[in-house]
């Protein structure tokens, strides 16, 4: 992540303040990082209500566990994004489990509404063209696909292999190469932005 501009608070110092119980710092850290976390959660979950729930869980956990943040292991932004991703994917998997195993005895319409969470929402699909405009768009299609399936749809490596009909080893290699390339592309963007 880019270093804080001179004069602005660094996100790391905000996390340290949160760990000390500073509620205002928590509010400022939320303003700084929640849109990033929410953008990701929304892409994973699509359902705005579930996404708002997960966002709240993520930041409540951040308030409680700020003292465990270890700057040597990554930026606060990455710390937040990883938590948001884990929570969103957990929720997505539990919704899928429930959709598979739970059939409402009386109100089928509610059960089918619940399924909406996974139906492609035209608004989101259209908006997701935004993905192509990110560094992700600079990846070869095959590498891009494995990253999208894992990051935004919560599929495991073997699920991706099944979905694409490719050997697991190919999926693993593509994932690694895709992330390496993405890293280069992001770095390029940052350089050209400065």
């Amino acid at each position: 992540m880019s270093p804080a501009a001179p004069g602005s608070e660094s996100s790391a110092s905000l996390v340290a303040a949160i760990a000390a119980g500073d509620r205002d710092a928590f509010g400022r850290f939320y303003d700084l990082t929640a849109p990033i976390a929410f953008g990701l959660i929304r892409r994973v979950l699509r359902d705005p209500e579930a996404a708002a729930d997960v966002l709240q869980e993520v930041f409540w956990q951040i308030w409680q566990e700020a003292g465990r943040y270890d700057p040597s292991r990554g930026s606060p932004e990455a710390w937040v994004v990883m938590r948001a991703k884990t929570r969103a994917i957990d929720r997505l998997r539990s919704m899928r489990r429930r959709d598979r195993t739970f059939v409402a005895p009386v109100d089928e319409s509610v059960a089918s509404r619940r399924g909406d969470g996974e139906a492609p929402n035209p608004a989101v699909v259209a908006e997701d063209r935004g993905l192509v405009q990110t560094a992700l768009g600079q990846l070869p299609e095959a590498q891009r696909r494995v990253i999208e399936l894992a990051f935004f749809e919560g599929l495991t490596q073997s699920e991706i292999a099944t979905r694409l009909g490719e050997p697991l080893g190919t999926v693993k290699t593509r994932t690694r190469l895709g992330l390496e390339r993405l890293r280069g592309a992001l770095r390029g963007e940052r350089l050209s932005a400065t």
Partner: protein, 254 residues
């Protein structure tokens, strides 16, 4: 393990898609602070964070309001003290396992799979409780938000004694509760409609009532609807229709 293999494990782990034995292997490397594994994971996580940072979306204001309230209510003394991660001394663990031999490994596998199942069940339960708690917090946050509309619905000729109430927020959704509605004939259901301006009514969901004529419905945010002028309930074929067709049972204007 070579660099590429560690890179593959780190990439899959960062994306949340590493399972079973490979996951355990990579977590053991992290626990042991293997420099290559730590570096590779850090790089992958920063890359994914960079990707997410390119796709921001403003969260609904109710989330921050609810969080700040929870934070304000949390007693300072209850804050967990910063905790160092417990250090597991892996060489000791590993040599112990080796010395114990194959039998212990086999027993260990079956015990760990039993525990995995229990952990899985506990995780599911925690997930459910968390979802319930969140649903309630959402309701409280909705109630406290000045932008929330509260609309009372009164019974119409088919059900003069019926009453209902909708608490509705454009981005957070809302709650609908009704009492005194007649039992639903077979193959039918009540459907709630939101009417905004001169637009056609938008379905806000279908619900049933219990023996006492009480029913409720969680209302999701309605696409493209910022403010509702009226809510109405009609009797429709089970499953609901895209536009109202049956008799109107309840109506309330905001």
């Amino acid at each position: 393990m070579n660099r590429d293999e560690i890179g593959e494990l780190a990439a899959a782990y960062a994306l949340g898609g590493l399972e079973g034995e490979e996951r355990a292997r990579f977590e053991a490397l992290l626990q042991a602070r293997d420099p290559e594994a730590v570096r590779a994971l850090r790089e992958c996580e920063e890359t994914l964070a960079g990707l997410a940072a390119a796709l921001p979306e403003p969260p609904p204001a109710v989330v921050k309001d609810a969080l700040m309230e929870r934070v304000a209510a949390a007693p300072a003394a209850a804050r967990p003290r910063p905790r160092r991660r417990p250090r597991v001394f892996w060489p000791v663990v590993l040599s112990g396992a080796m010395a114990a031999g194959l039998a212990a490994v086999v027993v260990g596998w079956s015990v760990s799979s039993t525990y995995e199942k229990r952990l899985d069940a506990l995780a599911r339960e925690a997930d459910q409780l968390r979802a319930e708690l969140n649903a309630q917090q959402t309701v409280i946050a909705i109630l406290r938000d000045p932008a929330t509309q509260v609309v009372a619905l009164a019974g119409l000729p088919p059900a003069p004694g019926a009453r209902a109430r909708v608490m509705w927020h454009a981005t957070a959704g809302g709650v609908f509760v009704a009492t005194g509605l007649p039992a639903i004939p077979a193959g039918k259901a009540y459907q709630l409609w939101a009417i905004a301006g001169s637009n056609a009514p938008v379905s806000a969901g279908v619900f049933t009532v219990d023996a006492s004529g009480t029913g409720s419905l969680a209302v999701r945010p309605l696409p493209g609807v910022a403010s509702v002028n009226a809510f109405a309930v009609t009797l429709e074929p089970a499953g609901g229709l895209p536009a109202p067709s049956g008799a109107m049972y309840l109506l309330g204007k905001s």
